[in-house]
Symmetry: C2
Subunit: 250 residues, 2 copies
């Protein structure tokens, strides 16, 4: 089994780096062959653009999806993208390790998604969700926060964590077919002291030791939706983002 | 009144660029002085890192928040950050114009948030939400999608749009004190033809002409929360992310 840890922190001595190392060590002990993509150290380009493809399908006008699709068959992408695609497809388990910045991933990790999860490679017409490219593989978010856990309770100041994570859990990982495991959250890292951080690493270690027994999170199958892209009337909404209640904002 | 349009598309002839131009023209007609931050054209750096500050507070170990805070008083940031901070603080109205990629902003725009919304500048201890730095100013997302609107209905395949947008609406804009206006969405742009796109621009134009009469979206005040960071028992959850129902994933 292969594991890929995508690491997105600028500081090699950060607690995120300690989590990366704890995961690499623990997974290796479990028999995984572990690869780390260290986005900052490897100088990964964050901004998707014309340089992503070796040859332009349309030199007049750059459309990211169209260019990604045209380059898909021969994987004619920039070397850093090509390297990450190879790592991604070799992985049975994907861990994204990052500090939560602004309720999401750091820009460099968003860029890894924008550029590596290319149209025609990581998803395609009809190849999404339970028919997605990465079905049978598992993925997990592992991240640090500055805030304590209460802030992300359902009635917390920042809103329910599972709704905050939907764009990543649903919109990226499950959409591409991954079985998504519960996230691992290291709460309030700057405020818990060395002892607290050591306990978080121990908790992470135990979690990783039993990862293979976990049930993934629930997402709807494509068959749950009608031709209008909405849940069939007999299907009960089962995720943090789908519901039949009133809207609050829109 | 000053408006800042932050534009995050790599192609100058994209429909996003047409939306940017429509907004700039219409707002100028309304008497706004309009500035455009063209992140790709200006070569804005997406990845937050040690280069963001002119002098390191801690040369041994890079912590983004700590370094941002130490540099805040004299705004001792890299020139591209300093320029964007000046533009941001001069603006009464902020529009983020982008293609929705992976249920969020492109990496270059996430990087603009990571780097420009600096700790000590755009937020601070106790200066968040209704006590936020940008209170009294308005902000709006304006974006294109490849998918049709049904996909982002409450029971749609991608989940309710207002939950998808929470990390941006709540986690960035409202958290920093902005009055957040309803987003403007250009749906299924690649599939609607020239006529359809012209109609979207006309609809956007009408929207911008009456922007000053709009009521902003609702977010909870800090006083709605107890010391445990959770809604007081007598406060009814009123946003897309706060609720008292059961969780689905966590």
């Amino acid at each position: 089994m292969n594991a890929l840890i995508v690491f997105a922190h600028p500081e090699p001595r950060s607690f995120n780096a300690a989590m990366r190392d704890e995961a690499a060590r623990t997974l290796a002990e479990q028999g995984y062959s572990v690869t780390v993509s260290d986005l900052y150290a490897e100088g990964f380009e964050a901004a998707a653009g014309p340089g992503d493809v070796l040859e332009r399908a349309n030199p007049e006008r750059f459309d990211l999806g169209a260019e990604q699709l045209a380059a898909a068959e021969t994987l004619a992408y920039a070397p850093d993208i090509r390297r990450e695609i190879d790592r991604l497809f070799a992985a049975d388990l994907l861990i994204l390790q990052f500090p939560m910045w602004w309720f999401s991933v750091p820009a460099i990790l968003k860029g890894w998604i924008d550029r590596v999860f290319a149209f025609g490679v990581a998803y395609d017409f009809g190849r999404t969700w339970d028919r997605g490219v990465f079905r049978g593989k598992r993925a997990m978010l592992s991240f640090t926060t500055g805030a304590p856990a209460n802030v992300f309770e359902p009635d917390g100041r920042s809103g329910d964590l599972e709704r905050v994570l939907w764009p990543l859990h649903g919109g990226v990982l499950a959409l591409c077919g991954f079985s998504v495991l519960r996230p691992f959250t290291a709460w309030a890292v700057p405020w818990i002291g060395d002892q607290g951080r050591a306990e978080v690493l121990a908790r992470y270690r135990r979690r990783l030791q039993s990862l293979d027994e976990e049930e993934p999170l629930f997402f709807h199958r494509l068959a749950d939706f009608g031709e209008d892209h909405r849940l069939r009337p007999d299907v009960e909404p089962g995720t943090p983002a789908q519901h039949r209640g009133p809207r609050k904002h829109l």
